[in-house]
């Protein structure tokens, strides 16, 4: 049976926890708004780039590029986009569950975010590189990752590359998804940015495009750029997911702490009342014995 003092102490410690989780919830919700806006702002660019690529794809049938080369061979690279910090609900464990499905021997991992790198090290997978990205992902950070995997691919160290990340669907729903990155395969298949289901269907205009300076040069510059941008958009989506998930997790933690405080306070009051009744009883019994 805990004493009233024990319960008071517990109430105090739960209150402190609630205060911290509440503060984290506030921080996450303000960051979430920014991250969501950034993720949404990138979508028109992605849509336009997709339509440009779809339009020119029809005209550049015989165009080839090292990044489009399809190779037989099982060597596989996964870009794992996780978070740097924990306390964001099941986000990272959902991601790593997907990551475990890849074959241990033929897959190498490229990580963005510390949690993913820790997971790869703990499970003794092959880690090729670890990148960081900030709360507001920069295009340069995305370019670094993209350049690294493009080099791995063109050097023939891996035969295919895909990205595993958490797609931001809404504040309450984030889904781990994997998206193939390389080889590009057909030009038509290039998707700059993230498919969202409700994206408008691409229409090809059926026009014959001219290229200036030349098709090779323009597309040679356009393809790596499209990949860079795809990774950038993925980082934005991952960041929005992280902040949303953290906000929801912290909100739950705060609610639970509040409920706990309520229960403990009730218990404390009951115990206090029981003590008073007991003392009263003792006093009256003593008086009756004397009288």
């Amino acid at each position: 049976m805990p004493s009233t003092r024990d319960i008071r102490r517990r109430i105090k410690s739960v209150k402190n926890t609630a205060q911290i989780t509440k503060a984290m919830q506030m921080v996450a919700s303000s960051k979430m708004r920014k991250a969501q806006l950034a993720a949404l702002a990138g979508r028109p660019y992605a849509t336009l780039m997709n339509s440009v690529l779809a339009n020119v794809a029809a005209d550049a049938v015989d165009f080839t590029h090292p990044l489009m080369a399809k190779r037989e061979g099982g060597k596989h690279c996964v870009v794992l986009v996780s978070t740097d910090k924990g306390l964001c609900g099941a986000l990272n464990s959902n991601l790593t569950r997907e990551a475990l499905k890849f074959d241990k021997d033929t897959t190498i991992f490229v990580c963005a975010g510390k949690k993913g790198a820790q997971f790869v090290a703990r499970n003794k997978r092959n880690l090729a590189a670890e990148f960081t990205y900030k709360d507001a992902p920069l295009f340069a950070e995305a370019r670094a990752i993209s350049k690294f995997v493009q080099e791995l691919f063109t050097k023939g160290e891996v035969d295919s590359v895909e990205v595993l990340y958490t797609n931001f669907i809404s504040t309450l729903v984030q889904k781990p998804e994997s998206q193939p990155l390389l080889p590009i395969g057909e030009l038509k298949g290039v998707q700059a940015g993230v498919p969202h289901g409700n994206a408008p269907a691409l229409e090809t205009s059926g026009l014959e495009f001219q290229f200036e300076p030349g098709a090779d040069q323009v597309l040679g510059a356009l393809l790596p750029h499209a990949l860079n941008f795809q990774i950038y958009q993925i980082l934005l989506e991952a960041k929005a997911s992280e902040q949303s998930s953290r906000m929801v997790a912290m909100k739950n933690a705060t609610d639970n702490a509040k409920q706990l405080i309520k229960d403990l306070t009730l218990e404390y009051n009951k115990l206090r009342q029981a003590n008073i009744t007991k003392e009263l009883l003792e006093i009256t019994t003593a008086q009756m014995a004397l009288g």
């Binding site: 336009l48 020119v56 001219q210 300076p213």
Partner: protein, 135 residues
């Protein structure tokens, strides 16, 4: 009279989306003037100045590197920077230019040189547009 639908989009936002009469833009192989009914063309964009003519009035934007897709009815510009002339802060751009030039004087690796060159081109483009519109 036929018009062109001009769209300028950066990774951060859709900067411009209007029907215009004519667009002059800096291609990698020199300035290009685009009128409606232009042949479909895909080209690379150099950092510089985009001039837009609409209803007899000209307005200017500073843009960074990127790509342009031209069809008979529309011009779509994908670039990493686009700022309207009235939003350019000349002092800031000038400062950025100086900073970039100072950085170039230091010893840098290729990747950094490319990044600094890009930001230098951005500030130069902004300055060019700003000085023209304030004349």
């Amino acid at each position: 009279m036929a018009t062109l639908k001009l769209e300028i989009v950066t990774p951060d936002a859709k900067v411009y989306s209007e029907d215009v009469d004519m667009v002059t833009l800096p291609g990698v192989e020199g300035e290009m003037g685009i009128f409606p009914m232009h042949v479909p063309l895909l080209t690379q964009l150099a950092a510089g100045e985009v001039a837009v003519r609409k209803g007899g009035q000209e307005s200017f934007l500073a843009v960074g590197d990127g790509f342009v897709e031209i069809t008979g009815e529309s011009v779509s510009i994908l670039t990493d920077m686009a700022i309207k002339a009235e939003n350019i802060d000349e002092a800031k751009a000038e400062e950025a230019r100086k900073r970039a030039e100072a950085r170039l004087a230091e010893h840098l690796d290729d990747e950094e040189v490319a990044a600094v060159n890009a930001s230098l081109a951005h500030s130069l483009a902004q300055l060019k547009v700003k000085r023209r519109s304030s004349k």
